[in-house]
Symmetry: C2
Subunit: 239 residues, 2 copies
DNA sequence: CAGTGGTCTAGACCACCGA
DNA sequence: CGGTGGTCTAGACCACTGG
């Protein structure tokens, strides 16, 4: 069975495209059964492994749901995911073709209060590193990065040169990431934050708080404050 | 080579776990080369297809980068994605074990102004549907859903019963989703919005605007306003 | 029980990269 | 050119689901 090699699109992509078309045109509706692998194998004249790859990838993308022993159905709600990445703001700004600069507001060792101690699973009063940086895009403040770092995860954090690297990059390089959780909310800036950002204390801000785990340690806890009028998270999903 | 079937974990998962461990413990650093498929095949005594599947999935997850003809390397920044889903707020509230209720504030046909006409690619003055609902969680207002709908995509939108379904669900069922884009920002509520949510006009809100495409039509444009003090988007990633 | 998806093999040919 | 990943096959055995 010498398959023509002039095929512009891989066979499994053609199968995926077929299924996607049936779904997006409404021919197959959420809850409807998708033909079994055997049926698709017949229809396309492909081996089962190829059919399996196509349908499996559609399941990963959230378009269909597979249940072993039962079958494949069109997913109920199209679970469409956007990539909210842990990115280096330095690179993000450069990618937009703008200039990135940073002001180091604070770099110190502090004693953990109760909340910090719980976050890092340390005893109260333990030493943790603290840094505050203000990031600018073409000279305009767009982010305050208020960060606490676990000395056990990055012992030399205080001697890093934050004019040539960013805390995000430094930590990604020195404390490999294994886990992270974040939360995005809206709130008003503190007086000091408003001053750093050059905005009114009544101007709403986007605040992302994030904590990261590296191996056995909670490595870092950070509060990122963005002026609401100058920054937004946006994304796009596509079937 | 009769592989023992008592294996608790699939072979490809074991390969993935091995690679993940090397990365997360810092043994292999970003930019380092990952052993070739042939090498891993030797090391694990598995067929190439199985090795290929393991490494391919790691590439999809963003942990490694593969270049045909060149090789596989550990990815530069761990591209960690959270699932920001188009979800039905009804289900979201129920999942938290709370009660969901809704107040229908407005349901009408309006004439498109310039901005709406551009959004929907209709002529100015064309009819579009407009609905405003306030969603409550255990009696507390948590979201205003201010939505415009293209009649071409959902002609009977006005006659839907929004006490038994939600606009999100109705549209997902009647206008299959093919594309969506969103933006999240922080801003202050309008006077009317503040009143609906029972908050001060000076209380910051999270605002998500989203437009969805169904087939050939821009189906819907929606502005979701969340009280910043009662709602946050959160998520978690794991290596 | 028959039908489904989940996994795996031992080959194969191809496209691409770098030396 | 040899080594890499990208794709594909024609089988196979297994675990799970449902009637």
């Amino acid at each position: 069975m010498p398959r023509l090699t002039l095929n512009p699109l891989p066979a499994y992509e053609q199968v995926k495209a077929f299924v996607k078309t049936q779904i997006s045109c409404g021919h197959w509706r959420p809850g409807d059964a998708v033909p079994s692998e055997a049926a698709l194998q017949q229809q396309f004249g492909l081996s089962r492994m190829t059919i399996n790859r196509a349908v499996k990838e559609l399941a990963v993308e959230g378009l269909v749901t597979r249940i072993q022993g039962s079958g494949t159905v069109v997913a109920q709600l199209h679970r469409i995911s956007s990539t909210l990445a842990i990115r280096d703001i330095h690179e993000e700004v450069l990618e937009r073709g703008h200039e990135h600069s940073v002001h180091l507001d604070r770099l110190e060792t502090v004693r953990a209060n109760l909340a910090l101690a719980q976050t890092f699973k340390l005893r109260q009063g333990a030493k943790v590193f603290h840094s505050v940086l203000v990031h600018h895009e073409d000279g305009v403040a767009i982010q305050i990065e208020d960060r606490y770092v676990n000395p056990a995860a990055a012992p030399k954090y205080l001697s890093a040169d934050f004019s040539s690297t960013t805390p995000t990059r430094y930590l990604l390089e020195h404390a490999p990431l294994t886990e992270a959780s974040y939360s995005i909310e809206a709130s008003l800036p503190s007086a000091h934050e408003a001053q750093c950002l050059g905005i009114q204390a009544s101007d709403p801000c986007l605040v992302m708080t994030r904590s990261t785990v590296s191996g056995a340690h909670v490595a870092s806890w950070v509060r990122l404050v963005y002026p609401g009028t100058r920054y937004s998270f946006s994304g796009k999903f596509q079937l």
